[in-house]
C-alpha cells in the first residue's frame, strides 16, 4: 500500500514538472511580447443583448451562404473554410439558444457585459465566428479571382492562336502579292525585251556601207564612217543627216534609251587636233539629234581623238575604220 501511494506521489510530481516546463516556455514568449500594443480591429462585437448577438450570428450565416451561392468555389480550401465557418456559426447559435434564450427571460434583452464566464464565452464565440466568416469570404473571393485568372489565361491562349492564324494569312497574302508582282515584273521585262528587239531591228535597218550596227556590253553601237562628214571638217553631210533623222525617230519612240555620241579619229595629226575634231563632230551629231526632238538629257557627247582605235592605224583600211562617230545606245544612263 505504501509503495502504491509513493508511486502516485511520484506521478503527480512528474505531472507538475511537465506543467511547469510549459509555463516557463509561455512565460518567455509573454516577456517577448509584453510591448505589443493591441489594435482597434476588426470584428465588431455587436453591442447589445444576447438576442442581438444571436441575430448577428444568423446574419453572418446568411451572408456566408449567399456569397457561396453567388460564387460557388471548387477549391477545397475555400469549401473547407466555408463548411468550418458554417459549423462554428451553428455551434455558437446553439450555445446562444441553450444559454440565453428563455421565453420571458430578462437576460434576452439585457446588454451583454462579458463579465460572466458564459457571456465571455459567447462573445468570444461570436468573434471567432466572424473571423471564420471573414476567412471563408476571402477564400471564396480568392477562388473567384483564381477562376478569372484561369479564364484570362484561356482567352489569352485563344487570342494567340487567332493571332498566329492572322499572321499566317498576312504572310500568305504577301506571298500572293509578291508572286503577283513577280508576274508583273516578268511581263514588264518581256515587253522591254520585245521593245529592245524591235529597236535593234530598226537600228539594223540603218546598216549600210557607211553605217555599221553592232552590239557590245554597253548596248547597241551605231558606227558612222567619217565619209559622212565633210573632209577634215565637223559639218554633217546630207546622207548623215538622213540617217540621224531616222535614229532620232527611233529614239523618240523608245524613250528609255540614252545615247552617248563618241567621236574618234586615226593617228594622223596631233592628238590635240584629233581630239578637237572628234569632239566637234560628236557635238554636231548631238545638236542635230536635239534639233530633231530628242531630249538633251538623254544625250551626251565626247571626242576621244585617236585614243580608242578599233583597227590598226598602220594600214589605210584600218585608219579608215578608226575615223568614225559612234552612237552608243544604252537602255539607261
Amino acid at each position: 500500500m505504501k509503495k502504491i501511494s509513493l508511486l502516485v506521489l511520484v506521478v503527480i510530481m512528474l505531472a507538475s514538472l511537465g506543467f511547469a516546463s510549459v509555463d516557463t516556455a509561455q512565460k518567455n514568449d509573454t516577456l517577448k511580447q509584453k510591448n505589443d500594443t493591441s489594435s482597434s480591429i476588426t470584428v465588431p462585437a455587436p453591442a447589445g443583448s444576447s438576442e442581438a448577438v444571436r441575430l448577428a450570428l444568423l446574419d453572418l450565416r446568411s451572408e456566408l451562404k449567399s456569397a457561396f451561392q453567388l460564387n460557388t468555389p471548387h477549391d477545397l480550401n475555400a469549401i473547407n473554410s466555408y463548411l468550418t465557418a458554417l459549423a462554428q456559426i451553428e455551434e455558437a447559435h446553439q450555445f446562444f439558444l441553450e444559454n440565453f434564450t428563455k421565453a420571458g427571460s430578462k437576460q434576452n434583452n439585457s446588454p451583454m457585459t462579458g463579465k460572466s464566464s458564459k457571456e465571455k464565452n459567447a462573445l468570444s464565440m461570436y468573434e471567432a465566428c466572424s473571423l471564420y466568416t471573414v476567412i471563408a469570404l476571402i477564400q471564396i473571393n480568392k477562388n473567384k479571382l483564381d477562376d478569372n485568372i484561369l479564364q484570362a489565361s484561356h482567352r489569352s491562349d485563344s487570342i494567340h492562336t487567332e493571332l498566329s492564324k492572322v499572321y499566317e494569312s498576312i504572310i500568305n497574302l504577301e506571298r500572293g502579292r509578291a508572286s503577283e508582282l513577280k508576274g508583273k515584273l516578268e511581263d514588264e521585262n518581256a515587253k522591254a525585251l520585245a521593245l529592245q528587239q524591235e529597236a535593234d531591228r530598226r537600228f539594223k535597218e540603218l546598216q549600210s556601207e557607211l553605217i555599221k550596227v553592232r552590239k557590245d556590253v554597253r548596248g547597241t553601237i551605231i558606227s558612222m564612217s567619217d565619209l559622212l562628214f565633210a573632209f577634215d571638217k565637223a559639218d554633217l553631210t546630207n546622207d548623215l543627216k538622213t540617217a540621224l533623222a531616222k535614229i532620232a525617230g527611233i529614239l523618240s519612240v523608245y524613250k528609255k534609251f540614252h545615247v552617248a555620241v563618241e567621236g574618234h579619229t586615226d593617228n594622223i595629226g596631233t592628238a590635240e587636233y584629233n581630239k578637237d575634231l572628234s569632239g566637234r563632230r560628236a557635238n554636231n551629231v548631238k545638236d542635230f539629234l536635239i534639233a530633231q526632238g530628242v531630249e538633251a538629257t538623254r544625250l551626251s557627247s565626247i571626242g576621244y581623238g585617236f585614243t580608242k582605235p578599233i583597227a590598226s592605224n598602220k594600214t589605210k583600211d584600218g585608219r579608215q575604220k578608226n575615223r568614225r562617230v559612234d552612237l552608243v545606245v544604252m537602255d539607261k544612263k
Binding site: 502504491i4 502516485v8 506521478v11 514568449d29 511580447q33 493591441s38 476588426t42 489569352s156 487570342i159 497574302l173
Partner: protein, 135 residues
Amino acid sequence: MKKYYVIKWLVPVSLSLFLCCISSYRMLSKTSVTEAGTLKNYCEQNNIQAPEITKGDSLFASANVQLQQGKTNDGYRELNLAVLYYRVALSNQELNQSQKRYDEATKQLNEDEFQLSTYQEVLNGLKDLRKAGQQ
C-alpha cells in the same frame, strides 16, 4: 479481499486514466500554443504587416499571461482567436497576391487583344488593297 481488489485494479486504472488525461491536455495545449507561435513566426519572417497581425500578437501575448496565471480557459480562448486573426491576415495576403496576378493577367489580355485587333486591321487593309488591285 475487497481491499485487495481495489488495490489491484482500481488504482492502476485510475492512474492510467489520470496519466492519459494529463498527456492529452498537455498535447492539446502545446498544439494550440505551437500553431499560434508558428503563424506568428511565419508572419514575422515574411514581414507581413496587417492590423490583424497586431491584433493576433496582442491576443497571443495576453493568452500567454492568462495561461501563466493558470486561467487556461481564457488563455486558450485568446490563443484560438489569435490563430484566427493570423489566418485572416494570411488569407488576405493570398487574396492580394491573387488580385495582383489577376491585374497582370488582365493587362496582358488587353495588350494581346489590342495586338490582335491591330493585325486584323492590317490583314483587312491588305485584303482591300488586293481587291482594289484586282479591280
